[in-house]
């Protein structure tokens, strides 16, 4: 038997054959990617689905013994970043979906402790059933995905708790050698404060287990926002693409001082059009979707070049005061405001309405190019110009949905293409790689990246950084059984 076959056979004995998948048909849902990379380059060779920490430890011991590599996933839906697929082919997905218990909700402190397979839908249903007035903050594919997976990838949402990592507190992590670590205050015997205080004593370790392959996180603490007395969502619109600079400079102080209560999302005309149209409805020509057509169509629909969807939260008086301050500042910067709109994600509600993006071209090709920009008008204008030029040159439609965080903006650009077309897929891969290279050369790094581009992204962030990650990897997982290649990290 090969080492892989011997691992899978041993895994079947350990956790039950019905929780081990190795046949081609069974692996298909795990191999499917939206990224512009060949499935074969990232296809898992098997799937093991443990039901408990005991089984996770048993599988790690077997992986060390049989020299198998395990790629942990919670719900395996990192859409547009690789879904369930692995950095390198031949790894076995450690599918934690069956571990799906909500272990604790503290309605007083507003905290939760959940397992990997718990979805935002499950958490929302639980809070509703128990009549606990806490909000969830879900990412775009919210109902289908897990707080753990999104938090460990450092994803974001649209309520004031949109920085999911910043609102996580206390992890349980199984290391490659089977050690069970509880981070933060979790090491105190009889701990009272595991989900209340993040930093613990000595070095703060939680970040080591995000976007990394240093351990298998089996429990995660979450902070949940008490439902506010009031909230108000506003859409600010600017008509000129060049307005990106002045709008960025106008929003920055409102975010830094908290007048605007969430990151909100800043989106361009083409991304706005995807909510109601397909590309073929509007354009059948060659090359990228023309900017003039995008702007003209948006204008006809009462939209503009830039749209900033943002919200205020809190007591009614505060919401009214914050609204007035932001309105004045944004109108001075040239915005027109639609003062009351409903947005589910900004209101702690679940939705999949953002999936209309995938109807734009059809064919399920999607890769998120996500550079970080300092929140300065000149940088944002430069990033938009660079991205548009590179996407135009490759024949793709420039779109962006930016999180205006505060001192930084996460410029999340969907590269949408027809994955059923091999030529378009290869062109999208070249485009994505060119974007990373050009942004790196201009001093911009990435917030997050998907399989197929992790080595290039890691290289961009510097040889010393990668070397330090490798040294930590060698210390915690000397056999390299956990997710080799994740974020470019190997032993």
């Amino acid at each position: 038997m090969t080492t892989l076959a011997s691992f899978l056979a041993a895994a079947a004995r350990a956790i039950g054959a019905e929780h081990v998948i190795a046949d081609v048909e069974g692996l298909a849902p795990f191999a499917r990617v939206m990224m512009p990379v060949p499935e074969a380059d990232h296809a898992p060779a098997g799937v093991v689905s443990p039901a408990s920490v005991v089984e996770v430890r048993a599988l790690l011991a077997l992986a060390r013994e049989h020299k198998a590599a395990l790629w942990p996933t919670s719900t395996g839906r990192n859409f547009g970043y690789g879904s369930s697929a692995c950095a390198t082919p031949g790894q076995v997905v450690l599918d934690l979906r069956r571990m799906n218990r909500i272990l604790d909700i503290d309605p007083v402190l507003g905290t939760a402790l959940v397992e990997p397979g718990v979805t935002y839908q499950q958490l929302a249903d639980h809070l509703a059933a128990e009549k606990i007035p806490l909000w969830i903050d879900a990412p775009g594919p919210g109902p289908l995905v897990s707080p753990m997976g999104n938090t460990l990838e450092r994803g974001g949402g649209l309520t004031p708790y949109g920085d999911h990592f910043a609102n996580s507190c206390g992890y349980e992590v199984v290391l490659a050698d089977g050690t069970v670590l509880r981070t933060g205050m979790g090491g105190v015997e009889g701990t009272t404060s595991w989900q209340a205080y993040r930093y613990g004593y000595g070095p703060f370790l939680d970040g080591l287990f995000t976007q990394s392959n240093f351990g298998v996180v089996t429990k995660i603490g979450l902070w949940l926002m008490p439902a506010p007395e009031a909230h108000r969502t506003v859409l600010a619109i600017w008509d000129d693409p060049a307005d990106i600079a002045r709008l960025t400079d106008a929003v920055r102080p409102l975010r830094i001082d908290g007048t605007i209560g969430n990151f909100g999302v800043l989106f361009n005309s083409t991304l706005a059009l995807t909510t109601t149209s397909t590309r073929a409805d509007l354009y059948q020509g060659a090359g990228s979707f023309p900017q003039d057509l995008s702007l003209a169509t948006a204008r006809k629909r009462g939209l503009g070049a830039w749209h900033y969807l943002y919200s205020h939260y809190g007591p009614r008086d505060r919401v009214a005061a914050d609204f007035a301050c932001a309105k004045a500042a944004l109108e001075i910067a040239g915005a027109r405001l639609i003062p009351d709109v409903h947005d589910a994600m900004s209101s702690g509600e679940l939705t999949l309405s953002s999936f209309t993006l995938l109807n734009w071209t059809g064919g399920h090709g999607l890769a998120w190019f996500s550079p970080v920009s300092p929140m300065r008008g000149a940088d944002m204008a430069k990033q938009m110009r660079m991205a548009r030029e590179i996407m135009d040159a490759h024949g793709f439609d420039f779109m962006t949905g930016v999180s205006l965080v505060g001192r930084e903006a996460l410029n999340v650009m969907p590269l949408v293409f027809d994955r059923g077309d091999p030529e378009a897929t290869e062109r999208a891969r070249a485009c994505f790689s060119a974007l990373i290279e050009a942004f790196g050369a201009a001093g911009y790094g990435l917030y997050r990246t998907g399989v197929g581009f992790m080595d290039q992204a890691a290289e961009l962030h510097g040889a010393v950084n990668l070397d330090i990650n490798r040294r930590i990897k060698r210390a915690l997982d000397p056999d390299g059984v956990l997710a080799p290649g994740k974020s470019g990290i190997r032993i």
Binding site: L8, P29, F30, R97, L358
Partner: protein, 102 residues
């Protein structure tokens, strides 16, 4: 290593095995609004109820995905739950009030 028959046998033999797959897929009328209905019939993807879709087609779409639709893993919905769900979907009439999307 895993066949539909084995999954079925395991599901029948071990009470709670189905719950361990994820639990949320055991009651199709409740699953619809909590998963499928966010897109299907809600302006993102077509309404599927009332179309008498062949169960085999639904199984294939769910396991392999469709343009714009993710693939669903057996640890979320196992083969037995998938069979129940597809049967329900293929037999469920279209909603009477088309405005009641979900």
């Amino acid at each position: 290593m895993k066949s539909a028959l084995m999954a079925l046998a395991a599901g029948l033999a071990a009470s709670g095995a189905a719950a361990q797959s994820a639990g949320q897929w055991q009651d199709p009328p409740k699953v619809w609004p909590a998963s499928c209905g966010y897109c299907h019939g809600s302006g993102v993807a077509p309404e599927l109820r009332g179309r008498r879709l062949p169960p085999g087609l639904i199984v294939r779409a769910m396991r392999h995905g469709m343009p714009g639709m993710p693939a669903f893993h057996p640890s979320e919905i196992d083969d037995r739950e998938l069979a129940q769900f597809t049967l329900w979907l293929s037999r469920t009439p279209a909603p009477r009030d088309p405005e009641a999307k979900r």
